[in-house]
Symmetry: C2
């Protein structure tokens, strides 16, 4: 579709000029990833409401909107506030609790249509009270547990009861249901069973709500791995993938993208080769997070972009140990490496800024504007 | 000694008024912890050069200096720049590599005596070149591996060779040696062997350096668990503990502090009780990190301050699952909890601000000023 063109503030710099550790995004891969999900959802008639938790950047969110996203999904008040600059249709896929947080979110620009996902009567009551005080319409999605066992009501009957409570709690309105199929991975065969169960449970729930006069306008699924399968689940109207913009070592390992679709890396420098059999880089848990591979086997906390057989096998806060047992490569102190992290969303959250690159050329620098919690 | 008295900007607030997740520090416990390490080092005639990586706060660093710290230990250029406001004697316990980073650090105020720890000839050469260009004296500590196998030269002979190179590389000067005994824990009996080996290896190294006309002025050990044992190791002149200011679930579990010495908690709110047997709080990996217990058994990623038997057993980015199987306590949606994290240093790094509290009273708010990498 269109190339990602951020401000060219940094065009004169090369990777070797950057201080490490720092976060890099390959701008060509980012464009490809943005296009791929947009095309998939257009092809299958699914609404795309990407989750901004991965990039936390209004400029990337704007690229998503320009490619047809109907709105954006957020997890925090900070994300809502920043993304209100980009979209007037925001879903907080998270219960809103606590007086300070409720009051803060009710102050979003009035032209923003706010939708909130929740799974409890207490959350409905708190939201209704705040919405009334702010004289603000708020749409509600009931979160249902479709097998991940994290949050979400446990039965269709509970969902219906909560939907009826929402209907009776003006200025709230019932918008539909949401679920997070994080337990469904792309390429694992036995998970066809999980997909079948999802179809059955969702069909039953939609029927029950419809029979009660509360047909869900929105049936929102999500997550990058499962997003590519959501057209196979009847009734789903929208998806909320986040990770697909950057992808990561896990997304590639489970087959939801290729290694060449990994757009995000952490640039590091080898700082010590003193201990035999390893090289130490300046990317530890404060730069890479300490996320395991998810839903797929795989050692370590990240792998080199151009040598995926070399993994970060141990970490301290500011040290990452590259295990050299699977390679003949012997780096020197001062060499730079690019590491694909296991879970990109937590790594973005560790950075204040991101460098946009093509090859070794640094083209841009943008803030991770929605990072943190501050108002 | 003296009570920690930050600015009283927030005295009117209670915990229930705060947005969650957020970071809390119990100010009384902080004072106790600061006093305890200061007293220990004074008692045993050890220099205290605390590592600021844990708090990243100049105001807590100032409290450490006021209690007798000879200087501060840093890991990043950002930490050096912020801590130069507080102390004129800074150790960068990390090799300095890359032109941008070297140039940045050479711009520290000239009244700061800078010491750098390193373990390679390349790092010596790079530092000497930058120091010459900046016309700046820099003291060097040779990092030696005393059993942790992370960084550090592998033999006394290598340490001597590097020390001789430093001596020949004006304006660098040889200051001594440093090691990080992160493998030595407080209460584990079989580690008396590790302590014995440390004594032997260190004695041999100090003798070798002395015989070569390079007696180390500084022999710097460190880490909170091992700090309390360093008076048992002849030759050690200073310690570099960081975690002791706040402590955490690991520090308590290994016996290096009591549970009541844990000063740092993450305040969270119960957001869902929909799935039986668990409660979900708004503290996930973006609030707690995903650190295991270190050097000691223990499940989960944190435990409740007032119910240590309740642990965060699973996490997503913004969800933490409290396992309720070991308790009769059944929280309600909207209840607040205080979580002691497994590893406080990485949690501080996730926060822009910290609330100082006494009981339920919020007394102050301070920035984590040295967080991040930005100049």
């Amino acid at each position: 579709m269109r190339a990602f063109r951020p401000d060219l503030t940094d065009r004169s710099r090369q990777l070797q000029d950057l201080e490490t550790p720092c976060a890099l995004v390959d701008l060509d891969r980012l464009s490809t990833n943005l296009d791929a999900m947009a095309s998939y959802t257009i092809l299958h008639g699914l609404a795309l409401r990407p989750h901004v938790k991965t990039h936390k950047s209004p400029r990337i969110a704007a690229e998503q909107v320009q490619r047809g996203a109907v709105g954006l999904t957020c997890a925090t008040p900070r994300e809502l506030e920043v993304m209100a600059e980009v979209s007037n249709d925001l879903l907080l896929a998270y219960p809103l609790l606590g007086a300070a947080k409720l009051a803060r979110v009710m102050q979003l620009p009035r032209e923003v249509r706010l939708t909130v996902g929740l799974d409890s009567m207490i959350a409905v009551d708190a939201l209704a009270t705040a919405a009334r005080a702010a004289d603000r319409d708020v749409r509600v999605l009931i979160e249902v547990d479709m097998g991940m066992h994290r949050v979400g009501v446990q039965s269709a009957e509970e969902a219906l009861a909560l939907a009826m409570l929402v209907r009776a709690s003006a200025p709230l309105s019932f918008g539909g249901i949401m679920f997070y199929p994080g337990h469904i991975r792309e390429h694992v065969d036995e998970q066809h069973g999980a997909l079948d169960r999802l179809r059955d449970d969702l069909g039953h729930l939609i029927t029950l709500l419809g029979d009660a006069g509360l047909p869900p306008t929105i049936v929102s699924g999500g997550s990058t791995p499962a997003a590519w399968r959501m057209h196979e689940v009847k009734g789903v109207t929208e998806v909320r993938p986040g990770t697909y913009v950057y992808n990561d070592r896990t997304t590639a390992a489970i087959g939801a993208c290729g290694w060449d679709d990994c757009a995000f890396t952490v640039l590091g420098t080898v700082v010590s080769t003193a201990v035999p059999g390893q090289a130490v880089v300046d990317c530890g848990s404060k730069a890479l997070g300490r996320e395991p591979m998810r839903g797929t086997p795989g050692e370590g906390f990240g792998a080199l972009l151009d040598r995926p057989e070399v993994v970060v096998s141990r970490m301290s806060e500011e040290h990452g140990i590259l295990d050299l047992s699977a390679t003949d490569w012997r780096p020197r102190v001062g060499d730079q490496v690019r590491i694909v992290p296991n879970h990109v969303c937590v790594v973005v959250h560790l950075n204040d800024t991101i460098h946009g690159v093509r090859g070794d050329q640094v083209e841009s620098l943008w803030p991770v504007a929605a990072r943190g919690r501050a108002p």
